[in-house]
Structure formats: structure tokens, C-alpha cells
Amino acid sequence: MSKLQIYSCGAFNESYIKNLTLFTTGFGRISLCCGLLFLAVLPFLCCPYVLFLLNTAGIYAMAAVGLNFLTGSTGQISLGQGASFGIGAYTTAILVSKLELSFFLAIPAAGTLTVLFAIGFCIPAARLRFIYLAFITLAGQLIFDHLIKWMPLTGGQEGLIINESSFLGLDLNDDRIVYYIVFLCLVAFTWMAVNLTRTSYGRAFSALRINPRATEALGISVVKFRMLSIAMSSFYTGLAGGLFTLHMLAITPELFNLWLSIEFIAMIIIGGLGSISGSIMGACFIVILNEFLIFLTDIATKNDLLIDPALTNLALREFSLGIIIVLFILFQPKGLYGIWHNIILYFRRWPFS
């Protein structure tokens, strides 16, 4: 067991099994526990508005962790995460409102269905070079955008409203309940993602990004692993979509358009490609940014600072996200995770830093 002790000359592992643990020292584990404890009491400390944002951020974070498998680890780009998210959300909504299934069953079913859709759609691309996946997922996103507006099953332009608002007997109108559901899912699935990255599967995913030909020469099927990463990411995204329905209890088509796909990519770039904690930070960043921009548009329109019709909130969002991505790529390619890591290193090396 790792003891609570200060390693003045650096911590060294003395067995291979110890190398597999997440934290070299007891302090890492304690700070993780403190962090989780803080998150567990957070809904009682913050106002309803912040709680609503936290729920949204947690749900986006789950989708971002999934996308990180695809883009961060295996280096494939998907422009269809918004559609995956939407399929998860709509499937859940339909199962709950039309078939009167409970959320508890509907959300995993939605995740599974999303995987089936994604695999069916991406099989042709998995045999080809990486760039094809970007285009086929873009095509999927565009088809999805319009199809859900046309189909009666998905409620057309008006979307779907869920009357059922209980989860295993808990009242979903209480955002705290939603918070705990989202929180537990996010912690569980992040933990699973972390586990995968430290096993042979995680190594094979990165190998696939670095050099597909050499990966195949190690007896690892490139096609199978590309499909696996697509399945993984769409499962995470589909589940997140299901949670989104549970969170909002009403969904409309424009919530899941191409813009959402772009936001997901922005989350993992801003958070730090390939980093799981970065994906979560990126999701929080985007949610905060969006709220901040809504606030900014409000002020600007009230004070007649800008020509009114030109400054819609969406335009401002696109504009500032563009600027921010460019700044991150220029000055902090490792994203928020990189910044966080540097801060930690600074304190660890103090007073020599």
C-alpha cells in the first residue's frame, strides 16, 4: 500500500504492480477523494442556475471523454458527434414518451443504438484512410440534422417533450437528482476510460494514431481497432445524449446540429487532445464561455453598443470560439490540461522552479 509519506528524493516504485497504480503517493489518492467529496456536496452549495450549468457541463464532459478516444487516442476526426449525441437523446425521448420505458432502461438502450448506427455508418470508412471518417461523419451529421426535422416520430421542428419525470422513483424536476445521476455516470465512465488507457487497449489505440502500418505489423487489426474506437466514442456520446434528455425533459432538433459537433471538437482541443481530464475541463470551459457570451450579448444590446440585428448570440459564439481555438493552438497546444500540468509541476518543483 502506498503510505502517506513525503518522498524527498522522488517516489520510486519497487514492483511492477505498483507501476500500474494511478497514484504513486497517498497524497494523490487523498486529493482525488477530497475532490470527489467536494463534487458530491456541491449541489447544496450552489444556486439553481449554477447547478443547471453543472449538469450540462457534466453531460458534455461525458461526450467529450468519448470523443477523446476517437480523436485524442486514435487520431481520427469525427464531425458527427452532435448526431450521435442527438441519436442518444432522441432514442431516449422516444422510448420514454412513446413506449413508456423508464429512463433507467432507455438510456443504456440509447447508448447501444447509437453504437449500432455509428458502426453501420462508419464501416466503409474504417477500411480507408483517416480523412474519410471525417467526411462520412459530416455526411451523417447533415443527414441527421434534416431527417429529425422531417420525421413525425421525432416530433419535427417542435421536438419532443417528456411528461414522465421520474427516475427509479426520484423526481427529475429537482436538478439535484439530475446532478447526482450525471455525476455518478461521469465518474464511472471516466474511471473506465482511464482504465482502458493504462491497459494494452489504450496502448494499441495510441499506436494506431502514431503509425497504423506498424500497428498492423504487431498483429493488431487496424480495422477492428478503428471500429472499436468508433463504437467506444459513440457509446459514450449516446449515453450522454440520453442523460441530456433526462436533464432537459424537452428536446428540439437545433440542439444537435453540426454546431454541436464542432463544439465537441473544440472541447477536446481546448481541453488538451488525448487527455481525459482535459476533455472534462474543455467541456466546462465551453459551457462557461457560452453563458458568458449570452451575458455579453445582453449587455451589448441593452446599451446599443453594436448594430442590433448583426449581433446574434450564435454569431458571437462562432466568432469567439474561432478566436479561442486559434489562440490555444498557437500558444497552448496542450490545452487546459497543459496549463494545469504546468501549475502542478511548478509547485512540485518549488523552490527550484
Binding site: Y16, N195, R198, S200, E216, A217, L218
Partner: protein, 275 residues
């Protein structure tokens, strides 16, 4: 703490003669557009052999390896490994049958450590599935430790302990080739294909490489096909030599026979500038 001054377990089975590694190529022909890269090549390798392929640049040596490992689709002929036809199988399945190779241009995974490069080669021997991996169960941990030990045995066999945590791109060419050999061995091969492992590296590194390769064949009885330009070395260490030129097999025989072969003397020994 256990030290690994002991025999690499991936090799132990081979020495006990449990492993069969017979490769048979029948009339392999490979064309790129109108150009013939390989013309009806017949080649047989038996368990325990050390076969070297020599020939000038562009003779088709690398192409032959690529045909064996399924990277190139050849137009004619077939290849049998342990009496099983491997023609048309995808590369990863051929590797899973126990053929592993190093590449002329190394092809290690840049940006990750030597250790991770070697561990990657153990992927096909892992005993857990995707779900178990995501839960990181006890059996996963045990299996990870097991593979780490196997890799450590190879690290000590190849004398690369000091660089196990170094990123591969920081290593010299010679060290990279040594790590690539380690990665090929970590796959647990029955048949090892080496593409120019002694080319472009320093004298000391070359000496060590030659020591490892000969040990693998002579001590561990691993079956090896070697491609190399350095004729004196090849004549010294191989049991059988095949000479290629323009995709055709020019000569085949023991080192002594090849040394005295008129065509070989004319093509290679007479003019040292071709090497």
C-alpha cells in the same frame, strides 16, 4: 525485487524444439504496374535455419519480406507457413501465426517510450478482453505484470536497461534498430525476418547486433531470414545464402559456395562500391 538475469521466456520454448517454423514459397511473382519486382521466386526455409538474402539495391529483397507478411499482394504463387497457406491473409493474422519482422526504416512508434513500444508487441498475447480492461480487474493487473516481466527479460537480453523509459526518437539509429529487434522478439515469433538490421549504425552497435542475432539462432534455435548488404558479415554468420538481382534468384547455397560463385564474385566482390 526480482532481477532478470535469466533466459527470455519467449525464446525458451523454441530451444526445447517445440516450435516448428517451416516456410515454403512457390513461384512468387510480384509486379508494380509493368515492372516485375519478383519473378517466380522459390524459397524454402526449415526450422532452425539462418537464411540470408543479399543483392543490390532494388533487387526485390524487401518486397519479398512484404509478400511474406502480407503487406504486398503478389500476382502469382503462394506461400505456406507450417503447411498452412498464408497467401491472401491480412497482415495481422500472418503475424499472429508467429512470423515477425523488423523494417528497413525501423518504424518504431515515435513519441512513446521504449518500454511501451515493447509492451505493444505483447498485445496479441494478452488474456483479457475489452470489458475487463475497462474495469481493470485483478486478472488484468496480473496479466499486465506478466507481460511486463516478459518484456523486462528481453530488455536485459538486449542490454537496453538504461534506456527503457527513453522516447524512441531520442535514440541513435543503432539503438532504435535494437529496440525494433526487441519489439519483434516480444511478439513471440517462430520465424524472424530482419530487414537490414546492421545498416547505417555505428561499429559498436553493429557488433552488438550481430552478437544478438547469432545468439538468437545458435543458442535459441530461432529461425531467421536476414537481409543484409554487408557481405563479409553475411558470409560469416548465415547457414544459407540466396542472391537476388532484378527480382530473380541468381544463386543459392552455403556461404562457401556463394563465396566462390562466379556471378556473385563478378557482381559484388569484384566491385566493392556497390556496397
Amino acid at each position: 525485487m526480482r532481477s532478470f538475469q535469466r533466459d527470455p521466456s519467449v525464446l525458451v520454448d523454441i530451444r526445447l524444439d517445440k516450435i516448428q517454423a517451416d516456410l515454403k514459397m512457390n513461384k512468387i511473382s510480384l509486379k508494380f504496374g509493368g515492372m516485375t519486382a519478383l519473378n517466380k521466386i522459390d524459397l524454402t526455409v526449415k526450422t532452425g535455419d539462418f537464411l540470408s538474402i543479399i543483392g543490390p539495391n532494388g533487387a526485390g529483397k524487401t518486397s519479398l519480406l512484404n509478400c511474406i507478411t502480407g503487406n504486398y499482394q503478389y500476382q502469382g504463387g503462394n506461400i505456406l507457413f507450417n503447411d498452412k497457406v498464408i497467401t491472401g491473409l491480412p497482415t495481422h493474422q500472418i503475424i499472429n501465426l508467429g512470423i515477425s519482422r523488423t523494417s528497413q526504416n525501423i518504424e518504431l512508434f515515435q513519441g512513446i517510450s521504449v518500454l511501451d513500444n515493447l509492451l505493444l508487441a505483447r498485445h496479441m498475447h494478452k488474456s483479457y478482453n475489452f470489458i475487463e480492461a475497462s474495469l481493470f480487474s485483478r486478472s488484468v493487473k496480473k496479466n499486465e505484470v506478466y507481460h511486463r516481466e516478459i518484456v523486462e527479460e528481453l530488455i536485459s537480453f538486449l542490454e537496453i536497461e538504461p534506456i527503457r523509459n527513453t522516447l524512441v526518437e531520442e535514440l541513435s539509429q543503432g539503438m532504435q534498430k535494437r529496440v525494433a529487434l526487441g519489439r519483434a522478439l516480444a511478439l513471440g515469433p517462430k520465424l524472424l525476418l530482419l530487414d537490414e538490421p546492421f545498416t547505417g549504425i555505428t561499429f559498436e552497435e553493429k557488433e552488438a547486433m550481430i552478437r544478438f542475432v547469432t545468439t538468437l539462432n545458435e543458442v535459441w534455435n530461432l529461425t531467421i531470414i536476414l537481409i543484409e548488404h554487408d557481405l563479409p558479415v553475411v558470409l560469416n554468420i548465415s547457414k544459407k545464402i540466396v542472391v537476388f538481382d532484378f527480382g530473380v534468384k541468381v544463386a543459392e547455397g552455403s556461404p562457401d559456395f556463394i563465396q566462390d560463385h562466379p556471378q556473385v564474385i563478378e557482381a559484388y566482390l569484384g566491385d566493392s562500391s556497390t556496397f
